[in-house]
Every structure is written in structure tokens, then in C-alpha cells.
Symmetry: C2
Subunit: 421 residues, 2 copies
């Protein structure tokens, strides 16, 4: 296949995938990782726990791609057939590797087992001539064998083990094997929130340069906003950076108002960084989001640097008794109102002694809507530096969608205030 | 193929699946739904947006299975090639269906477009002779055609549209086509929490009857616990119920201590139901889980019936100032201690005027661990009816895993107290 770009194929093994007990997240992760490396995935198979079916799929995959990644079927139970299938296919014997066996025995001893369970011995079996790819998180190693000129790599199906093994073993292996032929993808990601995809697309399309060179643009919408992904392919680092810089610069005026920066693709992360940079602390008061904002902020390690605490004021009594929202405000404007949201944001910052406060109150549904305030109506506020900004939105979606969108919009409101200084 | 059980195959279309931009959740959902219906999925393909590749995969799939579900590639953009691929394959012409076109025009008019965008006309194209399967949530209908004796069904790739279309159109179609040959699966699910899979398996294996008849058992472990799934196949409703009842009864002593009941497979739902049944209310005080318990309780509609509110006491000052945890307790035992957890549970119930309270404090990591209190150490308490129960555990996993396990264990503790009365 000369100096062409190498391609990969995936053979995912397991009755549990076909029966839908497990969602195959491995294939998507591998697809992303290999595309970035420069070995795009061109085909995928999902195959039952049956030796002949596995062998047949590997042969087809090897005919199509120079790398075949086989995931799953390396466990210790009788329905784990991948090793045997490859032995049948290649004619290589399966032998027990002494080092692997010793490692397994150690592992089980440290868990209090005197003897290695008989069925786990199979996990120390390797194909004669295979390259062993150590699994630093689990019991079954990866194995790499040649099948009809292609490199077939057996990987564990447990997602955490697979990811680690690919990063530690497979990426270096492929980088070496295809040195000079890899055309890695170069991505630039622009995260936006608070703007519908169609509106963003219109602004972006009119800002894009005529000549995009080697760069393609994708819109990746989610509950938290739309990610613009610029991808340069077929060029080296320096040229990719030049193109990506110039297109990003052209897009800047169109996206500025909606953009946030986070390597984790997470607005909570962007807000946390802005708070740390400003040396300010935050407290949150949530009604309809019910703890979601606090949960998202504390998903991130190090949140204690800026996050003081949160109050989930689900019952109205908590809003008045703990946060000091006035009963008059609730009676005059309703509990879903700009006034109550603002009082919650201010009240929680004061109660918890934080520099900034967020307040959100709304109707997440499915019940509780009215003509004036239909399901999806949310009022939210950010308090910072003695100022309070308030918004009212009607969010689309089911209960989960409304809550996610409300949490995102509330955090974005404070982020914009911090950016404005 | 006579009276054998019919099988299905899935052909999932889309570069975004191969590049990993989208995780293919459709195939898992279809796998589950079709297995339950009695048409198990025996093979899956993931195929790029290329006509020849789509056609070739459909031919292979039709050779293997009596039903072929093709997902994706029905959108309005040039990389949506499924309709054309099937036209090439079957020789059937693509014609614009007047009714579909009128429906599309209406839809766009109602969104404020005067004219249907040219590229959307393709979504009104149907294969000559195909059965049109109306899509009640989106623009592209499903289509069913015969290919070499198999039924090939084209489905939209948008998950919500696919699910609705399968329930409304495909399930009735297959039920009719395979009348008398379907062998639906009958499931019984036993949800457990608080017991490791290996320990549970040992107890379950020794409790299982020798003769399982038509029933198979699967262990489905997750962060929240292990689900036991009993599946009866090949028998009618009445016989399945008899077998499932008798096996469930045999397992009862082994699982009783760890079991919870929820149609949503959600411990928060089980806890909510128990609180509603007991006419009691709940407030929660969270440190390391950072709002996760409150979020999970309020994920469910109707949580306001029993959930009063929550406090995320991330900063220690909140624990003392708002919850009334004593500084002496914190100094004497550390903030991650049984005493502090108990004081949080009691304090939040009293502060918020709830009948029951939960408190959880721990080290979710990655930082903050010590020799005495390594990452994963969590103390949690449930307060109810003047009594407080406290536990200390060391949970495994990363930050997310530790937080999820801690939230689950904390809710389980109260559920057991409520069950005990």
C-alpha cells in the first residue's frame, strides 16, 4: 500500500454488545484516538462470542485495513473466545506465559486468594510469536500478531484498561510501524454556549474565509452548547497551526460573545479558572437544577479553591428561611421570577460569605407549567461585586435537557460578568 | 428458514461513528429492543458515508439475517447516502412522495421558512415499492424494502426519532411478519447495592436451583451496584412467569439485604418511594459528593413530595456556621469522620425542618489523601426518627467513581432504616 495513509478497522466482540446490555464506547474512543494519530478507522464490526465468527471478521478486516483492533473476549470466562479464535485463524499455538502467570498469581494473592482460580489461567495465554502488550490496569494483556500482512491487535474490553493500554502500548507501536506515513489530524476546538446552532452557523458561515485550505469545520451540538471543531489534515504541524490560527482569527468576531475556554470542554472548568484568576469565591443557590450546578463545579478536582458551598432550596421555605428571600417577593412575582432568582444569588453569597453567588429557579417539568410560565421557564441570576444580573429564558427539552441548559446558562452569566471585570 | 427464530443485523452508517464524534447508542438500544421482541441481533457493521460500502454491507447483512436495520444517512446533506445506496442496490427508482413533500413544506412554513430548502427535498424521496414508515418526530421517514428475501428497514440516525419510529412502526411490522415465530425474552431484574459482584455471585450461585429451566442469569455491574438479570427464553408468558417466580424466590435470602426495588433501576427512586410511602421528608448535607445526591433525587419528577432541600457544605465553615457541626468535633476527629457525618445529617434535618437527613464527608481525590485517610475514605450518616446510623467506607475508583459510590451508599443507608421502620 506504499506511502498511502494507513487505515484501521475495529472488530468489537461480545454478545452483550449485540444484545444491547453494553453500549460500545470503546469503538468511538478508538475512532477519535486513531484519527488524531493519523490512522483513521474505516470500518467496524460487532461480532458474537463465537470463534468462527470472530476469525471470519478478522480476516475481512485485515483485507481492508493495515491495522485491526479487536476489542473484548479476553476475560477468564468460557464465553471469552478471542484468543482461541486467533489461534485457529493463524495456526499459532496458545501457550501460557510464565511471567504473565506469575503476575496473575501475585495479583490474586494480594487479594487474599491462595491459589489462582483455574479459569483465570487462560488470561496468561499468549499466541506463539505474538507481541505482548502489558495491561497496567487489568489481568489480560494485549497481544499483537500479523495476519495476512496486517497488524491485528487484541485489546481488553474494559474501557479504562483499553484506554490506558492504547496510550501506553498501541500508540507507540503504530507510530513506529507507520513512521513517515502518518498524517495526524490537527484540531482546534471553539466552545460556545448560549447560542442556537442555526444562529451560530449563519454568523460563522459569513465569517469564514473563502479558502479554507486543508481545514474542515464541524458543528458538534450538545446540551451545553455548540462546539466548533476545525480540523486540518494532510499537513505538518507548522502549516496546520498557520491555517488554524488564521481561520480562528477570522471566526473570532462571530463567536466572541458565546465562546468559553476549557481544555475539558466544560463551562464549569472555565468558570472555575476565571474565579481562581480573579481570586474570588462562589456559592450557589439552586431550585429547579436541584444541585446540578454544585455537582458540576465539584466534579472538578481543586474546586475547593473557589467553591464555598451550595444550597438546594427545593422547598420554598428554604428560600425564605435560609436564604432570606422575602415572602413578599414570592407572593408578588411568584417563585419563578427574576426577583426571586436575584434574591437567591445575593442571599447565598451573603449567607455563605462568598464573593459571588448564583441563583436559579424554574419549571423543569414535566408537571408544574402554566400558560404564563410554561415548562422550561427559568429565571437565573449572578451576583458579583455588588451587582446582580438576571435573565429569564424558556429552555427546550425534557426535564434533563431543561436542567442541563439552565445550569449552563446560569454559569455562563457569571463567567461573562467576570470577563467584563 | 422455516419456523426458526428470526435474527436481525444492524448496519450503522456515518463517518461520525467511525471518527468517534458520536457514540453509537442506537445499536445498543435496538439490540435490547429486538432481543425483547424475539428477533435477536446477530451482527453489526459500522460503515462510512459511501454508497458502495453501504450497499455491500446491506447485501452481507441480508445474507445473514431476515431483518436488516440500517441506521443513519437519511438527513438532507450530501453525505447522507443511504437512500441512493439502496436505490443502486435494488434497482428501484427514487421518487419524491407528494404527501411527504407537502408535510415537509408545512413543517418548514411553520418555522417561518417561505420555501422548502432545496436540499431538504431529498428527505421526501422514497424507493419505488418501499413501505413508508412515518417519522412522527422528524423529517425523514423510515422505509422498508425487500432485499434478497430479507426485510431491510431504513431508520433515521437521531436517537429520539429512531426510538419512536421503531416503537410505532417497526415493532408492529416485525410482529406481523414473524407471527408465530417470535420467541420474546422475559426478564426479571433484581437490583442490588452495597455488595461487591464477587461476594454477591458466591451467595447467588449457592442459592440457585440446580434446574434453571429456560432461565439464564447475568450479572450487570455498575457504579451504583450489581443488577441480576434473569432471562427466560423460548417459553410463553405463563411458563416464563412460573420459572422466574421460582428462581427469584430461591434467590431472595441471598439478595434480601442488598436489594432495592425501582422500575427506573435507580436507588434514588426507591428511596423517594419509601419516603412517600412513609409520608416523611428528607434534607441532605453533602461535602465530597458536592450536590450529587441532591441532583439525583431531583432528577426525578415529583421529588418535591419528599425532598425539602440540600446543603453543599464544601468549605468547613459552612459545616459549622450553617449546619451547626461543632468545631471541637472537627478538631478532635477531622472533617472526614463519623462524628462530623452524623452531625451533618442531624444538622441539615433540623435546619431544614425535615424528618430525615443525610450527611456525607470524604476524600474524593485525586488529592487530599493521607495514610490514615487515603483517597476514597468516606464517612456517611443517615438520621431518622431521632436515630443516627453512621458508616465509614473506603470506596474504589477515580473521583467520579468514589463520588457515585458514596452517594449510592449514603442513600442506601437511609433506605434500610426506613425499611426496618
Amino acid at each position: 500500500m506504499g506511502a498511502s495513509v494507513p487505515a484501521a478497522a475495529i472488530v468489537a466482540i461480545g454478545d452483550e454488545l449485540l444484545l444491547g446490555d453494553t453500549i460500545d464506547t470503546n469503538s468511538a474512543w478508538l475512532g477519535r484516538r486513531l484519527a488524531d494519530l493519523g490512522v483513521p478507522v474505516c470500518r467496524g464490526w460487532t461480532i458474537p462470542d463465537a470463534k468462527a465468527d470472530i476469525a471470519a471478521a478478522v480476516v475481512r478486516a485485515a483485507a481492508l485495513a493495515e491495522v485491526v483492533l479487536v476489542t473484548g473476549g479476553l476475560g477468564p470466562t468460557p464465553d471469552d473466545r478471542t484468543r482461541e479464535a486467533l489461534a485457529d485463524l493463524t495456526g499459532a499455538a496458545l501457550r501460557v506465559d510464565r511471567d504473565l502467570l506469575a503476575g496473575l498469581e501475585d495479583r490474586f494473592r494480594s487479594r487474599g486468594y491462595e491459589l489462582l482460580p483455574e479459569r483465570n489461567v487462560s488470561q496468561a495465554q499468549v499466541l506463539e510469536g505474538a507481541r505482548i502488550l502489558p495491561n497496567s490496569l487489568g489481568t489480560a494483556p494485549g497481544q499483537a500478531v500479523e495476519v495476512e500482512g496486517s497488524l491485528v491487535i487484541l485489546l481488553p474490553g474494559v474501557p479504562g484498561e483499553l484506554v490506558r493500554l492504547v496510550e501506553e502500548q498501541v500508540v507507540p507501536l503504530l507510530s513506529q510501524r507507520f513512521a513517515g506515513r502518518l498524517r495526524p489530524l490537527h484540531h482546534r476546538r471553539i466552545h460556545t454556549t448560549g447560542v442556537p446552532e442555526s444562529v451560530l452557523a449563519e454568523m460563522v458561515e459569513s465569517a469564514l474565509p473563502q479558502d479554507m485550505g486543508p481545514v474542515a469545520l464541524a458543528y458538534l451540538p450538545g446540551l451545553g452548547g455548540v462546539e466548533l471543531r476545525l480540523t486540518a489534515r494532510g499537513v505538518d504541524n507548522a502549516e496546520a497551526a498557520r491555517w488554524l490560527d488564521s481561520i480562528e482569527e477570522a471566526l473570532e468576531p462571530a463567536v466572541r460573545e458565546y465562546r468559553y475556554y476549557s481544555d475539558r470542554r466544560d463551562l464549569a472548568d472555565a468558570l472555575g479558572s476565571a474565579l481562581v484568576a480573579a481570586s474570588r469565591t462562589l456559592a450557589v443557590a439552586e431550585s429547579c437544577t436541584g444541585g446540578l450546578i454544585a455537582k458540576r463545579l465539584t466534579d472538578l478536582p481543586g474546586a475547593s479553591k473557589y467553591f464555598v458551598g451550595g444550597l438546594v432550596a427545593y422547598d420554598d421555605r428554604i428560600k425564605t428561611d435560609v436564604l432570606g428571600v422575602s415572602r413578599e417577593d414570592i407572593e408578588a412575582h411568584g417563585v419563578v421570577s427574576e426577583d426571586v432568582a436575584a434574591a437567591m444569588a445575593r442571599g447565598v453569597a451573603q449567607t455563605m460569605g462568598a464573593d459571588a453567588g448564583l441563583g436559579v429557579t424554574g419549571i423543569a417539568g414535566p408537571g408544574g407549567g402554566s400558560d404564563q410560565k410554561p415548562v422550561g421557564t427559568v429565571c437565573f441570576a449572578a451576583y458579583f461585586d455588588g451587582r446582580c444580573e438576571v435573565r429569564r429564558e424558556r429552555f427546550k427539552g425534557d426535564r434533563t435537557g431543561i436542567r442541563e441548559r439552565a445550569a449552563q446558562a446560569t454559569m455562563a452569566l457569571l463567567l461573562r460578568m467576570l470577563e467584563a471585570g
